[in-house]
């Protein structure tokens, strides 16, 4: 059994360290918040201007003025703060956010990432992704190992327009965990019941096992 989305999120949650500030992208990364170990203190940054983001509100307690970067209604934890978008991206550029977790369409063996644009398709925009990947000290990508057509998303080089270059340090897919360094994907861990052969077959970029 390869990891499902929750499996990926749970595995990434193990990478989160106590006493850190973390920015979670939309999709699987958002799920990571649910699996951060009890007793660990982690503050979530939302790039629209929150530190200390809490869970979704109880029904009836939604506040139109309080949303996250995915435009979802959220809550604030004790000790949270609100700030404007310039300060938010200022703290991102100044590398005050310890860890960024985001999704991707493609990642290359030298750490490039493509996650915002498919030529010929409707382009929605990069939002804050380019700022995050250009500045973050530590970035983990959460994604499926292959696209729906079965093509590897771990590539020698990205074929889609880039979001950022030389920035991704770690990828967690349904098949396993991979560190990116020295121009290669280094296998760190296989997902349960995933074989090395499968990973080799499905990884187009340089793989070190």
């Amino acid at each position: 059994m390869a990891w499902d989305k929750i499996g990926i999120a749970k595995r990434i949650a193990q990478e989160v360290q106590d006493g850190t500030y973390v920015n979670l992208g939309i999709g699987i990364p958002t799920l990571v918040a649910n699996y951060i170990p009890e007793g660990m203190e982690v503050e979530l940054q939302s790039e629209n201007g929150i530190l200390g983001m809490g869970p979704f509100p109880f029904e009836g307690e939604e506040d139109a003025d309080l949303i996250n970067a995915g435009k979802q209604t959220v809550t604030l934890r004790d000790g949270s703060s609100i700030f404007d978008s310039a300060m938010s991206f200022g703290m991102i550029r100044a590398q005050k956010v310890d860890l960024t977790i985001l999704g991707a369409m493609e990642v290359s063996e030298n750490g490039d990432i493509a996650n915002w644009k498919v030529p010929g398709k409707m382009v929605k925009g990069m939002g804050g992704a380019m700022d995050l990947v250009a500045s973050a000290k530590n970035i983990i990508v959460a994604m499926q190992h292959c696209d729906k057509a079965g093509n590897s998303k771990l590539l020698p080089q990205c074929s889609l327009p880039l979001t950022g270059i030389h920035c991704i340090k770690k990828v967690v897919t349904d098949l396993g965990v991979f560190d990116i360094r020295d121009g290669a994907f280094h296998l760190v861990e296989l997902a349960p019941d995933v074989t090395l052969e499968e990973v080799v077959a499905k990884t187009e970029g340089k793989l070190v096992v």
Binding site: K71, K124, G125, G164
Partner: protein, 234 residues
């Protein structure tokens, strides 16, 4: 006369906005958007607008209302995905769209408000965003030079404000509003509550009134929620 910043209505406040102008419009998604000013622009029928705004609203709310009326020539945004009419106009070439990173957008507004002609940001280095831009290395890291925005008007939504134009924002409805308030050549602010002078604690003011040229108390705020997400009570 004095500072004379208070206006009775959106229509008085938006005087002087004409077709072809560049407008900054505050808000993130549908949160903290200047609803009254946008409705007023629809009424005024000004066309060929260039809008600097992080998002483009939804079909029937926010900047989507201007798009429906084909009043927008160009959008400068970071994310525009929630709007079918937008998509149609963009794909048909009726609407020009410049997508830029969200932090770059925020910082280019801020640069205008802080009197900085340009700022350097690493966002977009090595990507198509860098095309045509100066790339410069500082301490081993590459940055793009990005210019301060230059907008004729900034349309801003605040929670509370006073007659001097001092503003307080509420929660994440703050987002781009303070930077845009600082950046507009003429800044128009709508507030949910216009409070008496002296009612705002000087230490709590997010935007000092010096940046604000006109202010009015808005009406009928809908404050629509784009993604209502809740958890169950246990």
């Amino acid at each position: 006369m004095g500072f004379n910043k208070v206006r009775a209505s959106a229509s008085e406040a938006c005087e002087g906005i004409t077709s072809g102008m560049t407008l900054m419009v505050g808000g993130f998604g549908l949160c903290g958007i200047p609803e009254n000013c946008i409705n007023e622009l629809v009424k005024m029928g000004v066309k060929d607008l260039t809008c600097i705004s992080n998002n483009a609203g939804v079909d029937d709310f926010g900047l989507g209302l201007l798009l429906q009326q084909k009043q927008v020539k160009k959008m400068i945004s970071s994310y525009v995905g929630e709007n079918a009419e937008f998509e149609r106009q963009m794909l048909s070439g009726e609407l020009e769209v410049e997508l830029i990173p969200q932090g770059t957008l925020a910082t280019r507004c801020m640069a205008a408000g802080y009197g900085m002609p340009v700022v350097y940001t690493p966002a977009g280095v090595g990507t198509e965003v860098a095309e045509g831009k100066e790339v410069r290395e500082f301490k081993g890291k590459k940055y793009l030079m990005e210019e301060a925005f230059d907008a004729d008007f900034a349309l801003v939504k605040a929670w509370k404000g006073d007659a001097m134009g001092n503003l307080v924002f509420r929660s994440t409805a703050r987002n781009f509003n303070p930077m845009m308030a600082m950046a507009g050549k003429i800044t128009i602010v709508e507030v949910e509550e216009l409070v008496p002078l002296g009612a705002l604690d000087p230490d709590h003011i997010h935007t000092p009134g010096i940046y604000v040229h006109r202010i009015f108390q808005g009406v009928n705020y809908e404050k629509r929620i784009e993604q209502r997400t809740v958890r169950q009570r246990i």
